[in-house]
Assembly symmetry: C2
Homo-oligomer: 151 residues x 2
């Protein structure tokens, strides 16, 4: 199970936004609550659909702008660093990935470089696993270098 999706009270939200450097608006508050109430890794469209129940006049542009504001503030993340464009995998062997979050480079890591992943308990609710892989996110040597310089 997961930490319960508790909706923070108004003044707690004010504090969260203040600390994030975001002014407090009605739309932003409703969006924030929606995103944290949906534990389903929602798309902007899905958030829009839900929030329109509460604010029918909200625009999709506002949803996108606030998602970006939340991401920039580190309040949420994106599930995959590779939304946006298709990336092809021609290595059909079991293997893992090193992903540079800055330049989006993806480098293979052989299956045999890792101890096998072991589950402590059964997977929930009859999920049928085809394959798994481990994704290491960070900075490649080149980007780490550039990052040190511009400190």
């Amino acid at each position: 199970m997961q930490t319960a999706p508790v909706t923070p009270p108004m003044d707690e939200l004010r504090r969260i936004f203040r600390e994030a450097g975001l002014s407090f608006t009605h739309q932003r508050m409703v969006l924030y609550r929606a995103v944290f109430a949906m534990r389903s890794h929602p798309s902007p469209e899905a958030i829009y659909d839900r929030v329109r129940n509460e604010i029918p006049s909200i625009s999709l542009g506002t949803v996108y702008k606030n998602i970006r504001a939340f991401m920039d503030a580190g309040l949420v993340r994106e599930v995959s660093p590779h939304h946006g464009s298709l990336r092809l995998e021609s290595n059909l062997d079991e293997h893992h990935h090193l992903v540079c979050t800055r330049c989006k480079t993806i480098v293979d890591l052989e299956e045999s470089d890792l101890e096998p992943v072991r589950l402590k308990r059964q997977l929930p609710g009859g999920f049928r696993v085809d394959r798994y892989s481990v994704e290491f996110r960070g900075l490649c040597a080149a980007c780490a270098e550039r990052s040190n310089h511009s400190d």
Copy 2:
């Protein structure tokens, strides 16, 4: 290291395409060779750029059509099942994912449900890891069910 990216000879390619139910065209052959020569998980645009050296008149549409043909035939895969649309992560705790490749549902798996992932060797070339997560791909209970029926 990895299996060397050997370019298969012409008649080998003919066989591969035949077995995949794909007719043999010049564009398709050059595209196939490009994709398997690039171990960098290329985007369609990157493949296009490379292939235009050899076939300047090739169209981006042809690149997309053949990528899809290769994917449908199981010759290549896509790196992420979530290109296409942004998906938000509001759970900032370390955790892992169960991803249904059919309905794209993403379910969290707590960090503590897994034995810690251990590397056998050092990571290559100074990659700086921020975090890692394991992605289990397969079919959720609902989709597995539907899949059994329509057999």
